[in-house]
Amino acid sequence: MVPRALRYRETVRTAVIIPAFNEAQALPAVLSSLSDQVPDHDVVVIDDGSTDATARVARDGGATCLSLPFNLGIGGALRLGFRHVVDQGYDRAYQFDADGQHEPSQIPVLLAALDGADMVVGSRFGSHTGYRVGWGRNLAMGLLRRLVGHLSGQKFTDTSSGFRAFGRPVLQLFASEYPVEYMDSVEALILATGRGFRVVEVPVSMGDRRAGRPSNRNLRLVYHFVRVLIVLLAGSHRRPAQTS
């Protein structure tokens, strides 16, 4: 008889969602490391209105590529990824960065935690990590962390981490209601916990970005910070979003 855990593993279908905006340079290395380390996971690259060869590079690397007609931002790209994995019948999926910040060696850590949870967040600030950020960002993240802790009734050390895994029920929620603007990761945490899903955080190690540039300047960061504060305080996560 086949052990139960093994049978389970055979039937579970896992997808990797990679949002990519002009990441043709960094993407090939990421795709090849994924096909080395997790060959049985289906990779889907969301080409978020790139003007470079991102889509071609993604297909050459063996990934499924969904191309958006224009740039929607990371939240919009992710929501499309969630829609895709839900209607393709995947059981679970995880987000992965196109710029090489996330390490494939940490994927098993993330997925192992998904067995007892609906959603897993890989935290840069756990025990065996050495991740540094600037003081302004540090302050903003600290404030958001406290607010998220207050609203979710749970402690999170890394609210903006983009290294996350999801079970199907959360994927279904996010396919229609994923927050589509910048700092989506913070809103998504509150959305998932607010709807009663079990969200856990695990410490992971992360590398530096290999190519591309940081996506935001300080003033924009302040604007998005204020916007997220309003969203969180307005409590729109507690109501189903309008659909029209």
């Binding site: 007609p69 929607l72 919009g76 829609r83």
Partner: protein, 114 residues
């Protein structure tokens, strides 16, 4: 206001009404917005033709300086309009995002078939 100014405002209001009607006929402006501007144009035309109406209303409301009432109404109207447009923009953005997603999914299906 002097008699000349009344004539000028009245002509402008009439001109605005004609432009709105023409835009609707050309289907450049949606009828629902034309109602808005036709109402404004008509109100201006009335105020120009019978200035006593505005004076009377200001007096009833206890506003001593009559143009204040006019400015109050104008600012209130413009604020409401700006809010309405923000609402419409939010809704349109939501719809455009969904359309972009649908397009990407349709492309995926087309590529698999072709």
């Amino acid at each position: 206001m002097s008699g000349g100014a009344h004539v000028l405002v009245g002509l402008l209001a009439l001109g605005a009404l004609l432009v709105v009607v023409r835009l609707v006929r050309l289907q450049v402006l949606k009828a629902k917005y034309s109602i808005l501007w036709l109402t404004v144009g008509a109100a201006l035309a009335v105020a120009a033709a019978a200035p006593g109406v505005l004076d009377w209303a200001a007096e009833r409301l206890g506003i001593g300086y009559q143009p204040t009432l006019f400015l109050l109404l104008a600012i209130g109207f413009l604020l409401l309009l700006a809010m309405h447009f923000s609402y419409e923009l939010s809704r349109m953005e939501r719809r455009i995002r969904t359309l972009a997603e649908e397009l990407a999914l349709l492309r995926r299906d087309a590529e698999r078939k072709g």
